[in-house]
Amino acid sequence: MTPERFETLAEAFGGDVARWPPAERDAAAELMTARPEWAQGVLALARGLDAALDAAPPPRADAALAGRILATAPRPRRRWTGWLVPAGMGAGLAAACAAGLLAGAQFSARPAGGESDAIVATIAGDDVAIAYALGEGA
């Protein structure tokens, strides 16, 4: 390595040879052995600027920043949507529920009494069952 190259590397990468390009470190070490005083002078000048750069404090994170970032992170997929929706069962189930409610409403509009009222109560659920029981009691 030429002295000029050594100076160029110190100017670019600073006074710590361990931070120089790996391919040039051995040659740099040879030059440092051959001309120790000169090499140390070059490195000391570069280290002065390194130290000045290190005096500029790193920006500090707002404590809430990590929380704000994590709030946008991906969420795990909900497992039930994985098997229910692709099979088309979600829509089928919703349709069945709607049909049940409709049937319940139609049956509950009929006059109370007799065996059919017991069926209405069974099909349409608790609300109708309560209304049926109250009607029977009246």
């Binding site: 590397l9 670019a12 790193p58």
Partner: protein, 181 residues
């Protein structure tokens, strides 16, 4: 060479909150350091970090190193692009309405204290041309090797060396009085 972040990214993509926390803990300080030193404004640096992580979350399910860029290199590139967007906007605003430059020198009746030195250096860094500042930030503060820094900047290693050398010489000239203090 395997990417040290790849396994963590796979877990993040599955929605693992522990992995997301680990990735934020690993990368957020580096992102803030990069953006803070490129922009010289902590609030803007935080905005850049948040925007960069939005891109990380989007990219995580698709991330495949496959011998291409390492995740850390990609993340640096993303953050730098966001910084350059802001620097461009700043220049446009400055052209329309030039701000008054604060005096960064020390008060005449007192010497330079550590805080003053830090501020002076930060101001000198902001005074450099963007590409020189970028080279110094990547190599000195982010501790990237010359090949990786050149890859992030999209330049040859020789061009990187030139930018570093010119930037450091300009800094030394701007901070001459610190050596005398």
């Amino acid at each position: 060479m395997s990417d040290p972040d790849e396994a963590l990214l796979r877990e993040v993509a599955r929605g693992d909150s522990v992995a997301a926390r680990a990735l934020v803990a690993r990368k957020l300080p580096r992102l803030l350091s990069l953006a803070g030193r490129m922009l010289g404004d902590p609030a803007e640096a935080e905005d850049v970090a948040q925007e960069a992580f939005l891109r990380v979350w989007k990219q995580a399910p698709r991330w495949r190193a496959d011998g291409g860029a390492r995740f850390d290199t990609w993340l640096h590139r993303v953050a730098l692009n966001l910084c350059y967007d802001r620097l461009r906007r700043r220049r446009e605003l400055a052209t329309a309405d030039p701000p008054e430059r604060p005096d960064e020198g020390p008060a005449p009746d007192r010497g330079l204290e550590a805080q003053d030195v830090g501020r002076r250096v930060a101001a000198a860094l902001q005074g450099l041309p963007d590409r020189q500042r970028e080279a110094i930030v990547l190599c000195h503060y982010q501790e990237l090797g010359n090949i990786e820094a050149a890859a992030v900047m999209g330049v040859s290693v020789e061009a990187l060396e030139g930018l570093l050398g010119r930037g450091r010489r300009a800094l030394r000239a701007a901070l001459t009085d610190l050596r005398e203090a």
